[in-house]
């Protein structure tokens, strides 16, 4: 168990370090002159060499790449990702400022998405009507096919402008978060629902279900008591994809609905080529991803008795075969 734990934690730490290194290479080394990235392209030519040198020294670009890298890595280890070029505030503070808004949006959408996905899987498994099953099974592929930005604009048009039920932008009052929540929940629920439908169908065809039925259990009892319990766990294996969908969706949803958050901060940082902030956000996102996967890896064996037994026997094989590619 200790070996398993060390391996998993080590892997998570490696991912965070490597994403720091990768973004350093992309943002600080690849551009011919990183100072260029700090200025508006239109103003680049009007900048005097003295100012260039000054800025270069300020951000440490005049030092050898390796020294820059080690200095930045050392600072990052103490939680210092430098200061945002645009606002002049520490990167970490800029991220933490807008984090609550995004967390609220992401957690709310995730909850909504999970409920919707389970509803779809339960209906598809429970119903005896072919047409209803086909209809419900067509929903998840449609949910991942409609671009988030189009959904957002469609919802604004219908529910804000035509019906006037919810505000079209801003973050004042509880009603303002309804449309962003629903917009983000739809693409997030798609892959979860697809996985659950498949997993529910597989479990429903398994021998113990036949046994249950033979012992007189009703269809509803089987679906809720047997299938639901056994088929839900695999949804954890796509926690990574779900997280990616939430982040990507948040970028677009926060832009469309003009909400402050990590997504919009990312967009502003990229638009203004705020290199330290971009790096900070990418490392933050990748660290969150690593943490989520770590938690899944550690929690999964606790929930699945078969894996628990395997671990006790000393097997160090990775726990669930992760299906990273979006299932459909």
């Amino acid at each position: 168990m200790a070996r398993y734990l060390t391996a998993k934690v080590g892997r998570a730490l490696f991912v965070v370090w490597a994403s720091f290194t990768l973004t350093f290479a992309l943002l600080f080394v690849l551009p011919a002159d990183p100072v260029d990235l700090l200025f508006d392209p239109a103003e680049r030519n009007s900048i005097t060499p003295e100012i260039r040198a000054q800025v270069s020294a300020l951000y440490g670009f005049d030092q050898p790449v390796l020294v820059q890298y080690l200095l930045r890595l050392g600072a990052a280890l103490t939680g210092d990702f430098g200061t945002s070029v645009q606002s002049g505030r520490p990167v970490v503070a800029s991220i933490l400022d807008v984090l609550p808004g995004t967390l609220l949006l992401a957690v709310g959408s995730l909850a909504l998405a999970v409920v919707a996905a389970f509803a779809i899987a339960l209906v598809a498994t429970y119903t005896r009507h072919r047409w209803l099953r086909d209809l419900v099974e067509a929903l998840p592929p449609a949910a991942v096919s409609v671009p988030v930005f189009l959904l957002g604009i469609l919802f604004i048009q219908v529910f804000s402008f035509t019906l006037g039920w919810f505000p079209s932008f801003g973050e004042v009052g509880a009603a303002s978060i309804v449309l962003p929540l629903v917009t983000l929940a739809i693409p997030v629920s798609g892959p979860i629902a697809q996985l659950l439908v498949r997993s529910f169908t597989d479990e429903f065809a398994s021998p113990y279900v036949v046994t249950s039925a033979a012992k007189g259990a009703t269809r509803g009892w089987i679906v809720v008591r047997d299938v639901f319990r056994n088929a839900s766990l695999p949804a954890l294996t796509i926690a990574g994809i779900t997280f990616g969908n939430l982040v990507a969706g948040a970028v677009i949803v926060e832009t469309i609905f003009s909400r402050a958050g990590i997504g919009r901060l990312t967009q502003t940082a990229i638009n203004t080529l705020d290199v330290p902030l971009v790096q900070g956000i990418v490392v933050f996102v990748s660290a969150s991803f690593a943490l989520i996967n770590l938690v899944v890896d550690l929690v999964y064996p606790l929930l699945d008795p078969r894996l628990r037994a395997e671990l006790r026997a000393g097997a160090t094989a990775p726990v669930p075969a992760r299906t990273e590619r979006s299932p459909s």
């Binding site: 991942v144 671009p147 604009i153 065809a205 990616g244 677009i252 690593a290 590619r325 979006s326």
Partner: protein
Amino acid sequence: MTIGTAPPPDVTVPVAAPPEPRRRPAVPPPGLVLSWLLVLLVVAWAVFPGLFTAHGPYAGDPALSFAPPSWEHPFGADQLGRDLFSRAVHGAGTTLTATLVAVLVAFGAGTVIGLAAGYAGGALDTTVMRVVDVLLSIPSLLLAMVIVSVLGYSTYNVALAVGIASIASFARVMRAETIRVTHTDYVEAAHGLGVSRWGVVAGHVLPNALGPVLALAALEFGTAVIAVASLGFLGYGAPPPEPEWGLLVAEGRDFVALYPWISLLPGTVLALVVIATHRISTSLRPNR
């Protein structure tokens, strides 16, 4: 052979017979036919835009400003009086080419990397898979945004960025398949017969490992269309006068209260294309 004493070995209690494979109907399902027709139509838009619309994508007629959809202008016109159907037709070229480039980059690089890692094994495999792990830990839209900010804003850089951001998932699938195929009897037999390593890789491993990767490529088309359009929508793709699909939706955003067709009709084309490619990729998947 005495009959009747020993129980016949192959008569056993039927324990959960494997589910019968869904029979393929002789006539393809209508949804699939529609999907193919739609994709072919949109590809035709991309190749011969002039055949489908008499209006230019850039020429605006002030008299038509905010004209609603009509027979002459099926998608209506935008604030500058540009025919939106024409812009959607011409935009197909930009968006679909970018998608194709993205998928080819991801497929090509991913296949080579996965094949090399899976076949060579050892330190190369470990290194490659750790890098893949890292790339997968950054959401691909975010990674593509970072790459495009370094490369500069343009449709081709968006295509490249989307492609690079999806290399990891292709490499992962290809590696798994390569490892599976490398351990089959026929590959070992080929080695035993003295076929060179390159001959084995090119003649046996690659063709047999490619199936699931091709299925992933088909699926990736839909995902890449969305990614390209999303980056276009956020303003990282083609500059404004260009008729790129994501940009078309973004341009109509400010007018959605009064003139919803400007955003929603080109957006609907985009969504239908993605739904169609998903439907097609499902039908191409081997086992289901």
